[in-house]
Structure formats: C-alpha cells, structure tokens
C-alpha cells in the first residue's frame, strides 16, 4: 500500500516550537489518506527514544556524506557584515578553523580560553552560545546554527 509522502523543506513539523527551525530540515511530514487528525510527524513516530533517534539521524548524515549543504552565518565580533559558510565541506574542526583563519585573515582557535587569539563560538539549536570543539564533529553539525569569532578578552 503506497502512501504519499510530502516533503516540506521549510516547515518544521516538530512539536516543540521553542526550537528554531533547521536550515536543513531532515524531518519529513508523513500524511496518510485518513482524517486530518491522524498525522505522524518524524519527531514522534515511530515511537523510539531520543537517543536511538539521534543515532539513526547521525547515521543518515554520515551515509549521505554530507551531500546536503549546511550553510550557516559567520560573524567576526566588531564587524557588522558576516560571511556564509557551508559546513558540510569540512571534515572536522581543524579544517574549519584553517578556513576561518584564512577567511578572516587572523588566527582562529577553539577550545582554550586564550587571551591572545580569537576564539570560535557557536549558537546551538537551543539558542545557547557555546565554545566550539567540545562535542564530536557530527553532533556539532546537527546542532550548530551560527558561528561567532569572539574578541580574545570576552571569553
């Protein structure tokens, strides 16, 4: 029995409306040929726990070899005009930092709260600003929304 799957790239069918919508929406909205009250979103069906859901999502990301582009905004603190960067083109934190250092013509690092260097921070899907580099790269890709290169003394 075939069902029509409608892909809606920009509508977040997530039940939790406090989370900002993804720039790449990996959720599908499955609608079935019955009453409109019968809808399963990819966030609540099938009934599996968050940890398994995340594991399978990461697996999909890896299997696709990041074919889906992941453009996010990058700002340097003090500079009003930002840049856009496709994170899917980087293999990990090293290549990201290298590229950013080149793009902004300064030394950008992550992790250590160094008073001399520009430290890279990111805004995650909860809206919080975090230090780049703490979590595994795949996980970072799933949660990052934007990047900010801070002035050294701020951290």
């Amino acid at each position: 029995m075939e069902n029509s799957n409608s892909y809606s790239p920009y509508s977040s069918s997530s039940v939790d409306s406090t989370k900002p919508s993804l720039s790449v929406n990996l959720s599908l909205s499955l609608t079935f040929p019955s009453t409109s009250s019968q809808r399963a979103t990819s966030q609540d069906w099938p009934p599996i726990k968050p940890r398994l859901r995340d594991t399978l999502k990461s697996l999909r990301l890896r299997q696709r070899g990041y074919n889906t582009a992941l453009f996010i905004k990058v700002y340097m603190e003090g500079v009003p005009i930002g840049r856009k960067l496709d994170l899917s083109t980087f293999s990990g934190y090293e290549s990201l930092l290298e590229n950013l250092s080149g793009m902004f013509d300064t030394s950008v690092i992550c992790g250590n709260r160094d008073r001399k260097h520009h430290v890279l921070t990111y805004q995650d899907k909860d809206g919080d600003w975090m230090m780049v580099g703490d979590i595994p790269w795949d996980m970072f890709l799933e949660t990052v929304r934007r990047l900010k290169i801070t002035r050294p003394e701020r951290c």
Binding site: F32, T35, R39, P47, P50, R51, T55, L56, P136
Partner: protein, 578 residues
Amino acid sequence: MNYFPDEVIEHIFDFIASHKDRNSISLVSKSWHKIERCSRKRVFIGNCYAINPERLIERFPSLRSLTLKGKPHFADFNLVPHEWGGFVHPWIVALAKARVGLEELRLKRMVVSDESLELLSRSFSSFKSLVLVSCEGFTTDGLASVAANCRHLRELDLQENEIDDHRGQWLNCFPESSTALTSLNFSCLKGETNLAALERLVARSPNLESLKVNRAVPLDALTRLMSCAPQLVDLGVGSYENEPDQESFMKLMAAIKKCTELRSLSGFSEVAPLCLTAFYPICQNLTSLNLSYAAEIQGNHLIRFIQFCKRLQRLWILDSIGDKGLEVVASTCKELQELRVFPSDLHDEEDNDTAVTEIGLVAISAGCPKLHSILYFCKQMTNAALITVAKNCPNFIRFRLCILEPNKPDHTTSQSLDEGFGAIVQACKGLRRLSVSGLLTDKVFLYIGMYAEQLEMLSIAFAGDTDKGMLYVLNGCKKMRKLEIRDSPFGNAALLADVDKYRTMRSLWMSSCEVTLGGCKRLARNAPWLNVEIINENENNDVMERNEEDEREKVDRLYLYRTVVGARKDAPPCVTIL
C-alpha cells in the same frame, strides 16, 4: 498473628519485599498498617503527582529507598513539552528537612537540577545509589557534587538522560577514599571524558561489577579499564569508528579474555565490525546483549557474533539483522527470554529487503520456548503470523508490535490485524503489557476487553473506529493501570462512560483523539479526585483566544491521573488543569 509482639511481626514483614504485597499487608488491620508503615524501607511511586513528599514521609518515616516517576510514557516520543513538570526538587527538600535516612533514589522521566543533586549529596550521609532514567535538567556539575559528597556511593547509573556536559571533570571529584563503587554508567554523556580520572577510579574500585562508558572512551582506554577490572559482569563500551590496528586489537582481545565474569554487553554506537569480533572469547558467557545503537554494523557481522551467544537471555538489536538473522537467533539462543528489535531506517529511505518481517517474528516464536517479552518494529505483518506466534508462545507477559506505517493492513490479505492480535490476547493469559499497531478496527478492542484479563498497560496508536473500541477496553480489562492512546477516533462518550474506572487506574493519556474541552470539563467536575490536564502547546497564550474557549473544541493532548493531593501548583502555561 496479633498475639506476637510487634518486633516479631515486623521481622516477618521483612521477608515480604514486593510493593504489591506490602501494600496488601497494610490493609489487613490497623496494627498491621502501623507496623508495616513504620518498618517500610522501599517505596515505589508510579506518578509523582499522585501524592506529595510530606504525606509520604509522614506515613513511612523509615524510608531508605524511593522510586519516583514523573512524565507520562509518551514523553519519550516528544509528545510532552519539556517544561510539563515532574520536578524532583521539592521531594529532596522535604526528605532532607525531615532528616530521612535516604540511601537510594531512582527517578524516571523527572526534571532534576544541579541544585537538587547538590542538596541530595549534602543531605543524606548514608546515600548509596542514584539511578536516573530518561531525566533531564542537570549538568555534569550536579554529578560532580554527587561524586564529591556521597562518601558511601555504590551506584551511579545514568540511562538515556539529557545531560549538559561541561567537559568531564566530574570524574575527578570522586575522592581517593572512594572505593565502594559497584556500578557506574555514564554512557549517555555526550562530551569528553577525563580518561586518567576514570582509570584511577576503576583501579581503586575492586567491587565494580557494572561499567558503562560513553562514546568518548577510545579503544586503548577501554583496554586499560578492562585490564584493571577483570571482575566486570556488565560492560558498556564506547564508540570505535575506525578499525583498530593489529596491536591494539590483540591487546583488547587479551583484556577481554580475562573478563570471565562478563555476562552483559552494551554500547557499541558507531563500532567497526572488527571491534565486535574482539569479544568472541566471552560470547558464550553472555546472557544480555544490547547492540541497538550499533547502526553501522551490518547484518552478517551481527549474525556471526550472535552465533556464539548460546546463553543469551536478553537481546536488543536493530532490524538490520533481518529475518535471516532472527532465524539464526531462533536456532542459537534457546534461553532467550526478552527480544527487542528496533528500526534502523525511519523514513523508508533504503530500498532494502533486509529489514525484519513477520517471518522473523514467527521464527523466534518457534525457536525460543522461554520468550516472554518482545518489542518488535517491522514494516509488515500478517494475521496468520500472529496466530502462529500466539500458538508457539502462550507465555508472553509483554507483547509490543510496532508496524512502522500507521494503519497498514495484513499485507497478504489486505484485512485488518484484529484477528492476529485477538489470537495473542486469547492465548497469552498472563499478558500484562500490550502495544498494538497496523490497521485495526473496534473488533480488536472487543477481543482485548474479553481476553486480556491480566493486562495492566495498553498502548494504542492509529487504531479503532468508534467510542465502542475504547469502551470495550475500559469495561473489560479489570487490571488496567496505564492506558495511552494517540491518533484514534475515541471521544467523550468513551471518556465519560465510567468515571469510577479511573480510580483503579494510574493514568490515561489521549492525544489527537476526538475528546473535546467540554467532555474533559465534565469529567473533571464529576471526578474531583482526578487531575485532568489539557496540554495545548501550539496555543499562543493569547488571552483573547482563551476567552472564547469553545467547549466543542477538540483537545490536543489529555492526561489524567488519580491523586490524593489535588491539582499541582507547578504546571507551566501550556498545561491547564481542569
């Protein structure tokens, strides 16, 4: 019995451990009630809002071990807003204030803060065991206080929690004098782990039987850990993406060989197949195997591994094992009692025929005579298969079948699966938990109401035609405790037919059904001993809209539960308690 002094009766009661039995004893007479409550050490509270901490402490002053559950089960599937409730803090505050000699705390689906953990760690000098399952709201800072202050800590078990990881220094907080650990599980932590601190901790814990590390513990560290803890019974490994080099592999295998007591294995998220083979030496000793996160290991590797696990009693696996794999399980694992098969392809993206079907389920039922619990995610099912399974396995206690596509009929006859599930409930007289799926009419509920006499928990999704379905269940299942329903056409008539039924149940959940605000209001009026909660997350808290509440408006999510302490005061704006 009443001619014995109280101490003797109390001593006799000591032998009665189960909560149900102790609850029964307390109903026999006033004196038994008193003796029982004063000597009761372990209390289980299935719904933290059914009672409050003050009354708990008043009744059970000798409390040592407390189990609390918060959010309803469907919270696991993102159906309950994060801020819904289930805060443990007031409980810890009350227990601390009353100087209860708390030794064990087990929480499920509750909100725990660092503040709560800090208070816990400072208030109970004999505290021994903390088990947190599917909880959230705390960080590794909270864990640090527990590690630092609970001098007698034996067990720290964190299962599937949402923990904000502040980078692994909490392990350093276990004092050097801490040598009593028997169980440490931090597999759900997402960040880096201080490996040196972990190794030192494991080295000085000779009684450590259960160790479950997180993904950030690399292979060489795991090898060292196992080398200094060959007494381990239960091991959860980390994540090993790359194939290990020859030397690392040999070292790992040598360490594993020494762990002759190892009976349970889990973890394995992103594990290269070679790492799995390192465990071959102890395969035949395993009684429990959880490979449900090993999404990258292909079916043939899984099969090769399981072929050696002849003593397996519990197996959690992904459907990538396929029907062929389940046939191997059926012929190898004759001691199997519990099987869970999880989906690996959520959006039907792979055009694979390797996922499990009814064939695998039938094979398992035929090959494993001791099977009593099953959770099975699959793409298709038939009535014939379910009828065969029922015949093969009349001993099921838990039967949960989830067909991934809602409303999917028997794929060979295009009929509903009423007869199949009917056969299950008729044959399995001891069935306590059931989840149904696929195309189902009211008839399946007629069967459930008629035959499922021991059923305590029922999960329904996308099933039924009319209110009759739900009524069959409410009228028939005398032992029903938890009923959870989503996306099914049950409405006010079913909800309101027998209000007193809810006195005998812990809770009822209904989401995306046909119940209206008016129906819920009427229920709340007729049953003041119930908390009737309406959850409307999509509402914009617009005062104007609220004033024009239409009683005919369908309720998005309804959660009702019996309580002796009335409406809770900590509900967020999206929850209305009628």
